[in-house]
Amino acid sequence: MDARAPETIDAVELEIIKASLDGIVQEMQNSLFRTGYSTIVRESQDASCALLDARGDVIAQHVVLPLHIGSFPACCAAVLRAYDDIEEGDAYLINHPYEGGSPHAPDMCVLTPAFYKGALVGFCASIAHKGDIGGPVPGSCSGQAKETFNEGLHLPAVRYQRALKGMNEIDRIIAANSRTPELVLGDIRGQLGCARLGEQRLRELLDKVGAPVALASFERLMTLAERRMRAAISEWRDGRYEAERFVDDDGVRLNHPVRIHLVVEKHGDNISFDFSGSDDQAVGPANIRPPLVRAAIAYCLIALVDPHIFINSGLMRAFDVITREGSIMNPRFPAPVNTYNPTVHATVEAVFAALADIAPGKARADSCGSRSIIIGGRGGRAGQGYVQYEILGGGGGARAGQDGASGTSVNQSNAKIAPVEIIESEFPTRLLRFELIQDSGGAGATRGGLGIRREYLNLDDARFSIRSTKHVIAPNGAAGGGKGRTGDIIVNPDREGEKRLPTRYADYPLKKGDGFRLDTPGGGGLGDAFARDPALVEQDVNEGYVSVEAAARDYGVALNSVGRGFRVDLEATAKLRAARA
């Protein structure tokens, strides 16, 4: 379809179209959340929606999960490669990390082409995490996977509907492979509904402003996004910056940290991110595909430049990325990828670290990363197979002038915590404890946030998997701040049969009556802890965030017990602080 030259679009028209696009993706997103079938989509909101143009670039995305900005174009490209007979009323599925851009197989992308007066004008898409898409372990994410073939059912780009009619075969294939077919198919139905809604709204927009103006505006919005990003970059100091981060292990080769290495070169309004120095591809599932690397960089740049920037693929044109084929950042098929999040967190933290000197005032210590636990069994409350899936955060890194947040999702992940009362009502599990961990935040002039402790009792035999990070390598402090406490996973803590599991572990058999304790990491501290205002340390102690011992040891602040709480002992504090200096 003909488009006007993008630069001829007037400013008013452009803003009207932008506001409309915002409305459309918001509407798609609300529809998906409200109709999301599984706990994951509804309660954890592990899903996002986007509008793409006919080439598969993201025109607008409602940001729920920033990584998906890299995934959508890659998924759409796969559909465009596979089909030359795309028609109105079609729908496509893809969850293949190599063919498309899904971070891992459970992230199912549903795409529908949007037609206007017979011409393809774009795509409406959503990606939503599925509780189980088959494979050796419930939840489909085996920490011990050595090939993608161990990571569940992979659909390359496949046609799922034609003329608005379902391909029953594909539903049956999915149903035959998933442990929770009704949830997976229910979520896909929700995704399809939201894509069809997007198509309708897009058509209405084109009716209103005219297709040529609309299509030119989409392009113009991408150009503007790129220009905004480049303008900010051009104001940063030129130079070469380097950073590295480590992931505990890849799940297969234990005790072998995985290195992410980054060189940033910045000249004028050009910036490149070279990850060639990162480790070779991992045997275990710690690898990530290039669309995720790009998305991780975009996440950091948006955070540093302007969190309110209009999100589209134009942002991705403002920087270059180099990844070495055969490395952890660009593995060769069929290297496993299911536990991508630890590597992405490390990537995000490497990028922030490399840019710390360039964008002052936005310094930040490392955070807890994210983790999921999966408990699967056959005896759910309703007697059917079940997969209990939870995503947990922990302590956020300390920030300039602000302590890190406690018990929070961080970086690119943003899952809600599953309510205890919902978990216990749906699954044979009981929680024994849910609290923050004292002294888990890294010490600093500003303190890292605290990690979470959750303790569970299993009421039935089940299989347990965890995909975590930073159980071995603690979150770094910044500018002299202390490290955050590492995370931990212990089966049957403080009793017979106590056993520590590795950071990522799949399919541990839990017996009825077994329990486990999950500690999530605290955030790193920022700046010299001995320079922290003693009044703030006093408050931390009184709130239980820091122990009296840690206050003296890590902050050089002595406290006396007064009544119910503690007060700073100024004299003793001065001594402690002087002793170190």
Partner: protein, 687 residues
Amino acid sequence: MARFRLTVDTGGTFSDFVYVNEATGAISVAKVPSTPDDPSRAILAGVELLIEQGVAPADIAYVCHGTTVGTNALLEGKGVRTGLIVTKGFRGIYEVAEQSRPHGPTIFDIGYTRPTMLAPPSRTGEAEERVAFDGEVLTPLNEVALRRTIRDLAAQDMKSIAVCYLFSFLAPQHERRTREIIAEEAPDVEVSLSSDIVPLIREYYRLSTTVINAYLQPILARYIDNLDARLKNAGVTTPQKYIMQSNGGMSTFAETAKKAVATVLSGPAGGIVASVRAAQTSGFPNLITFDMGGTSCDVALIKDGAATISNRGKVEGRDVALPMIDINTVSAGGGTLAGVDRFGELIVGPQSAGAQPGPACYGRGGKRPTITDCNLVLGYLSPDNFLGGKMTLDTSAAHEAVETEIARPLKMETSAAAEGVVRIINVKMEEAIKAISTMRGHDLRDFMLLAFGGAGPLHACRMAAELGMKGVLVPLHPGVYSAMGLVMSDVKHDYLRSKLTAISKASEAEVNAAFAELEKQARADLAREDFADKSIRIEYALDMRYAGQGYEMTIPCAVPLAPGDLKKLRANFDEEHCKSFGHTAPDEPVEIVSWRLRGVGLVPPVQLPVYAPTGAPLEKAVRATRKARFDGVDIECPVYQREGLDVGVSFTGPALIDQLDCTTVMPPGFCARVDTHKNLVITMGAA
């Protein structure tokens, strides 16, 4: 002897009053400057205004008040010192909250911080107790330890304590026993139990709501006491004294004092209640309410004469799980700023010029153009009729701001720039309307846009046309519309109960029994408030979901259910689900999550006056002509004085209708008539 109704809606700047003579139906309105340090002073001033007109205080038979006392205390962090008691081992519920950050830009914002905890860990105690998902007591309440915990909290000068235990919505006995023990150990401390405030599944939302209540309740109780005393001193002795709640119903002074959290959206609720009445009396049962003020715009949907209620919401980032009128708010008001950034993009909002410096045309030093400035440049506003002539607007300042900041950088004509800005803000507000209407399966062609607030009627016609709506309704008193709503509400109390129940395994008798229990409570409460049986209406609904789905839909039902009714309800659920979300799963199991019952105490309705034509000719209402800009063309338009428009007259646009505190803009192609309630009914096309 005439009886009067007096209502007052306290706003940030003005307290709006409506007085109704119940015998004649005559309505008068007034605005009194608000007294934020003690809002009851302004209220008394408004009472005096009525008394000065010769009304005996004893004849004021009904008082209803929309208050922001609770909301403001929450926003400003001025609640009381609050403690919290949770199930042992579960402090994390409040500290972790939802764990996630709000969607959108916040995810990228390294500096984002959650709202502070109203009861920090140092003021949180733990109770040894535990109830399982099915209500079974796993650990009995350790009362000895609890007494120590309570004494400890009380010693920290706590004024109020919130109690929230796991699964207390199923088995409230531990919370209730805790209240008894607090009464013994710390008799002066107020107590809020989660099983009283909001007995619903999902512990964090229940806890958050309960803590907010504990934090606000003593403040609101004191305020209401004080107000009550002042009213009594002034001779206003009627027992019919009410406060508007977030759910669009009223509650007595005494009941409100116990459940402060139910008032956090009291302010905008009045306008919606008035709109509901308009939907019932205007012949237009389907309305979108459009309340545009200085900084924000509230929209809500009314279908078949009833407002949409949502069961959970956020107030300033805090979670409140109580029924509240479903209002969608966007940052779009008269003070919203427009400008061109260095990339040549025309940015409209969300920043606002606020009250200081305000729009450029206010002449208080504002140099950046706002929506109000654009409306003035376009000739929509009259420079000398703003706030009924109490304030003069500086047209040249507005013109200069728009020209310098927008027109010149974009190489546009000034009027074209102003028109562009208005179009952009309109689209943003239209999106907010779509989000609550088309997105939920409603067809806007069946709806009228009901415009009120200072700026609503300025923008309404164009927006209604863009949205393909039926037309626009501008009520007689758009500037005091919330206070109008307070004249015509009923008392509404919500009762809840959660229990995950597979509908296939439930029996009608079981559902009836659960409702019967709630109904008993509702009837008892309303009887205590002097409602006779015939003045009580009970509404029943079930929250249902597909098993495993995280979201419930509220499906109304008629109780008692007869055999087979659960099947029908399930079908209703499928149908509603399909209507709202475009898909359905009739083969999947459905669960009942919660029982909802609303007890309505019917207040005798006030008869809104029906006016007869006086025969005043239309020409007499024309007070001037003014040049206004429509689609790039300046047109000399008649300016009507709203108060002079007789019932039954009709006229066509372009036209401007000025009244005390607002202006209605009618572009060419629209046609208006005045109905018997003196509403302005504007439609597209010829008369």
